[in-house]
Symmetry: C2
Subunit: 158 residues, 2 copies
């Protein structure tokens, strides 16, 4: 299912600002997609469900000016946390060409070792997943006010 | 003057949450300090004016639990941008022991090469310095709502 979605997106040029969501759980994706639609009406949320799909999407889009995602939301447990770590390391490796993309980790885990290890891997920020939809909305609203209105992001989108 | 301030802070245990401000311009520091006081009443803003002082402060505090700054605000031009880059690289080098501290760059420059290079060096976010005090207040309010209320930061402060 996520695979189909990714293929559908990759065949059409995305005209709205893309944001990549790497999430292995379809129910979680439904919630995140709804919250993104509500808080970021100008954004096209692209769903991929594992590291291989994420890298394939980025490789494909990095040759299209302005099509690289403005932000990446990364679920740490994909489904093992090692999968998330591995992808985060790849994204932040300058040789891969994506290291300037901001990566926001969304994770159910609030364990200090997960939080600290993620910052050690140079993620942008670590968010423990909200428990209900209203909390998702207030978290994404605060995220938008900061990242869209205060911060200057790399790339042509800003 | 910043040196004296740093020495004064280093001799007393900071009981409020420390935030480190690396800024070579005293007038800018006055504005930033005022805006931090207004938006972060529980925070102790620590001022250092160059890379050596910043590293000395961090080295001294990393042995005191809970005393490492929750966030670092880094002026890129100290006064040359090479000085800011060098410090940013040192802060993000895992061997130095500070790589998990979030670094927010505050810079007058909105040049794409400065913005992109900063993200390439794994900074947390890049903010072009606001032009007046009211803009500083709204930028720091949005920053607080995101970093304090939504994000989980590493370390014992959270």
């Amino acid at each position: 299912m996520p695979n189909n979605l990714f293929n559908a997106y990759s065949k059409q040029r995305v005209t709205r600002t893309p944001v990549l969501v790497v999430e292995d759980n379809a129910d979680q994706w439904t919630i995140i997609q709804g919250a993104i639609k509500e808080c970021f009406p100008e954004v096209e949320a692209i769903w991929v469900s594992d590291a291989d799909q994420a890298l394939a999407y980025l490789e494909e889009t990095k040759t299209q000016a302005g099509q690289l995602p403005k932000l990446i939301f990364l679920d740490l447990y994909l489904p093992q946390r090692e999968d998330g770590w591995k992808l985060l390391k790849q994204l932040k490796d300058p040789a891969m060409g994506f290291s300037l993309l901001p990566v926001v980790v969304l994770s159910h885990s609030s364990q200090p070792e997960d939080v600290e290890e993620a910052y050690d891997f140079w993620l942008t920020s670590y968010i423990v997943k909200p428990l209900d939809y209203d909390q998702w909305i207030s978290a994404l609203t605060a995220l938008r006010n900061y990242w869209w209105n205060v911060v200057t992001l790399p790339g042509p989108q800003k």
